[in-house]
Each structure stands twice: as structure tokens, then as C-alpha cells.
Amino acid sequence: MCVGVPAKVVKKMEYTAVVDVMGSQTTVGIIFVPEVEEGEFVIVHAGQAMSIVDEQYAKDSVLEWRKLVDARNSETVE
């Protein structure tokens, strides 16, 4: 159902695109994300791309987790 793994757009056609998930490829509809560019990542649900992944936000999430972890570690040290 809900695939959390982002798929990379490798070829954009008119209403569809070929996407790659770690080397496996499939074709999805891009009607809901018409502005997507090749090279960007999308979230796919039931054969349709629903959202373009903002990589900066994704990176920021990781930084946030690390910050939380580091804050904890320094507390424990004290």
C-alpha cells in the first residue's frame, strides 16, 4: 500500500514517468506532480506519483535526529 521509499524519476514522458527504486524500475503516472523533473524523487502510491521529495527537508530531518541524539548523549555524560 503505502510505499515510503522514494523513487527516482529517470525518464519523464507526458503523463507518466519511468522511476527507479534502487535499481528496479517501473512506470508511474505523474498527473498529480506535473512539475516533476528527471533526477527528482517522488513518493508513489498505487501506480501514481503523489509528491516530490524535498531532499533538503529530508537531510534536515536526519540532522534533527542527530541533534536530539547528541543532546541526549551530552546529558548522559554530565
Binding site: V28, I31, M50, E55
Partner: protein, 370 residues
């Protein structure tokens, strides 16, 4: 992107996150004299929380309650029976998502019907149904339209495609559900004490962060939108506990890489063009007004409920407690049938057999006896 994904499940990040959540939870218990309680309302979250082990790790200190997250499970039995009965006519092809196949009807399952000769097909991408209709002009091709707001726009795409290709032997049996009405129902019923919601990942892509403001404004309830990876789930639970400790309520977007403030405008536009609100019957609840979406009158041609009459009697009574499970009133293991009379291979209710069902998640991922 792959690097980011790896880190979402990296023990170096996730194990300290678990400790951080447990610590916060203990702080909460000290302050309020009870464990914090959160409900997830997305079937994929139910599965992810169980599969990643997050639910088990936090068990002693955080109460994670599964809510009405699985669209098949919240569909009431009479609707399920009607969908199965659709396959009785000879000149029909029924197309459906995979997990509808083994949902128990009062009589048979779709799989039983398929084995007996009905033409029932599982489609991974619903829009393929339109192609099936094109290739079988002498048959009536009906798609079983079960789903929340992630799936609903895709159903409208199918109608658009059928219109474009001039296909008239295609229709959808609309039995869709909306998240907001059922959350309001749960909050108004007040049966389960909650400190916040873990808000759906992909439904939120369509609806947008701001669509949940009513939770804060009208019910003083927090929510955090999140994805499906271990670190995402843990950090969301952390944030929800933290908000509660500060006695604040807010809607947090912990999935901002993918969920925006206002959602997917294109998807919303498609829904507005083709659909109108309708009453829907929910398992264990009954009819909630304006809790579903149906095709507008001008699209009656594609509306299977308008085109085909299906007669089903009252559903067979069983001891199934799915209706209570989906409202978070009981956990799957509290149902007497769980794991005994009701198992994935011979389910009594949909929760045990749906890919996103709470009982299925529990059975597959949480029955460990160590």
C-alpha cells in the same frame, strides 16, 4: 536519498532515539501519573510500528493504540457482502486491490468466487482497470473503490481516463472514507483517552498539514504527521510527548520532505471536479454523515452503485470484534477469537487479513513469546 534512508534505520541513530523517547515518557508518567497514549490512524503506520519493533520497544512506557487506519477494515460488513455479490453476474470483470481478495464475506470471499470461476483480478495500479475495460468491451468492468484520501484522487483519474477514451463499460463501486469525520467521531465519543494522533503519511500528502488545524482549534488535540521509517516514527512520538509535557497542543509536520502546508492542489482539484460528499457506514460505528466521497451525478455512467443493483441480506453475525479494534477500544489480543478461531488463513473479520489490518499486524509482528 539512499544515504538518508539508511540513516532512518541506523541503530546508531535509532537506539538513542528509543532511549530518548522512553526518558520523555517516564517524565510524562511522573507528571501526569499515567502513560502517554497516542493513536495512529493509518494502516501503514500500524504495520510499520509493529514491523520496525517500535511498538514493542516502547510498550512498557508508551501506549500506542491502533485506530481506523485500514480502509478495508473500516468498511462495514454489508458493503463487503455487496462487493462480493457483484461478482455473481457472468458478464462482469471485478478489479480490486489485493487485500480485498480474502476479506470474509457473510458467505464467501472474492478468492472463493475466483476459484469457482468468477473473473476477479487484482490490480496493483487501479488505472489499469480502464485498459481492462477497453480490452473487454463485451464485459462490465467494475473497480472496488475502497480507500482514504490517498487513493480517492486516483479513482478520479480512472474516471477521467475512461471519459477520455470513450469507454462506457467501466465503473467504480465507490465506498471511500474520509479521515476527518472519523477523527471527529472518535474525539466526540471520547471512549479512548489520547494525548495525540500520529497522523497519516500519505493521506497528508493530499490533504496538507493545515487540514488538521481543527484538531487543535476545536479539540485541543495534538497531531504529528510522519513517515514510515524507524527514526521518523520515534521522533514523532518524542515530539508528541514533548508537546504534552509542555501542555501545548500543535500540529507538527514531521514529514515535511513530502507533505506540504496545503497538500497536493492538483489531487484536490481532481476530487473537487468529480466527487461530492456522501454518508458512509463504518464498521462498528454505523453511518457517519458526510464521511465519504461519491461520484457527482453527472458521472453516474461510471458509478457502479447507480448502474447495478445488488441485493444482500443482513450480514451473518459473528463474534468478530473488528469494530472495536478499529476504534482503539481493544487491542487485537483482547479478542477471544484472535489467533485461535481467527487467523490469517481462516479470518473471521477483515482486520486479520487486510494488508493494513491491526489484527494482521499483531499476528505477524507482535506474537513473539520470548
Amino acid at each position: 536519498m539512499l544515504e538518508i534512508l539508511k540513516q532512518s534505520n541506523d541503530p546508531g541513530i535509532c537506539m538513542p532515539l528509543v532511549e530518548a523517547v522512553l526518558e520523555k515518557a517516564k517524565e510524562f508518567q511522573k507528571k501526569f501519573g499515567r502513560k502517554p497514549a497516542f493513536m495512529e490512524v493509518c494502516g501503514s503506520h500500524t504495520m510499520a510500528l509493529a514491523k520496525t519493533g517500535v511498538k514493542q520497544c516502547l510498550k512498557a512506557d508508551v501506549n500506542l493504540i491502533s485506530g481506523p487506519g485500514c480502509p478495508v477494515c473500516v468498511t462495514d460488513q454489508k458493503s463487503i457482502d455487496a462487493m462480493i455479490a457483484l461478482s455473481d453476474e457472468d458478464n462482469r470483470i471485478i478489479c480490486t486491490f489485493g487485500d480485498m481478495m480474502r476479506v470474509p464475506g457473510s458467505n464467501k470471499t472474492l478468492l472463493d468466487k475466483k476459484i469457482a470461476g468468477s473473473d476477479i483480478r487484482v490490480v496493483y495500479s487501479p488505472i489499469d482497470t480502464v485498459t481492462i475495460a477497453e480490452e473487454n468491451p463485451d464485459k462490465e468492468v467494475i473497480f472496488l473503490g475502497v480507500g482514504f484520501e490517498t487513493t480517492i484522487p486516483i479513482l478520479t483519474l480512472m474516471v477521467g481516463e475512461a471519459k477520455k477514451r470513450g469507454i462506457s463499460n467501466f465503473s467504480i463501486w465507490m465506498t471511500t472514507k474520509l479521515v476527518e469525520p472519523v477523527l471527529r467521531y472518535l474525539l466526540e465519543a471520547g471512549d479512548v483517552k489520547l494525548d495525540g494522533f500520529i497522523l497519516p503519511g500519505h493521506v497528508s500528502i493530499v490533504l496538507g498539514e493545515s487540514s488538521y488545524n481543527y484538531l487543535v482549534e476545536e479539540y485541543n488535540m495534538s497531531g504529528s504527521i510522519t513517515g514510515f521509517e524507524t527514526a521518523e516514527l520515534l521522533s514523532t512520538i518524542y515530539k508528541l510527548i514533548d508537546l504534552a509535557l509542555q501542555e501545548k497542543t500543535a500540529i507538527e509536520n514531521n514529514y515535511s520532505s513530502v507533505v506540504s502546508e496545503s497538500g497536493n492542489k492538483v489531487a484536490k482539484q481532481w476530487m473537487e471536479t468529480y466527487l461530492t460528499t456522501c454518508d458512509e457506514a463504518w464498521r462498528g460505528i454505523g453511518v457517519i454523515p458526510n464521511s465519504g466521497l461519491d461520484l457527482k451525478k453527472e458521472y453516474d455512467l461510471y458509478n457502479a452503485k447507480k448502474r447495478f443493483k445488488v441485493e444482500v441480506g443482513e450480514p451473518r453475525k459473528t463474534k468478530c470484534r473488528c469494530g472495536e479494534v478499529i476504534r482503539g477500544l481493544i487491542s487485537p489480543s483482547e479478542c477471544h477469537l484472535f489467533g485461535k478461531a481467527c487467523q490469517p488463513l481462516n479470518p473471521i473479520g477483515p482486520c486479520m487479513v487486510s494488508a493494513e489490518g491491526s489484527c494482521a499486524a499483531y499476528y505477524q509482528y507482535m506474537r513473539e513469546s520470548l
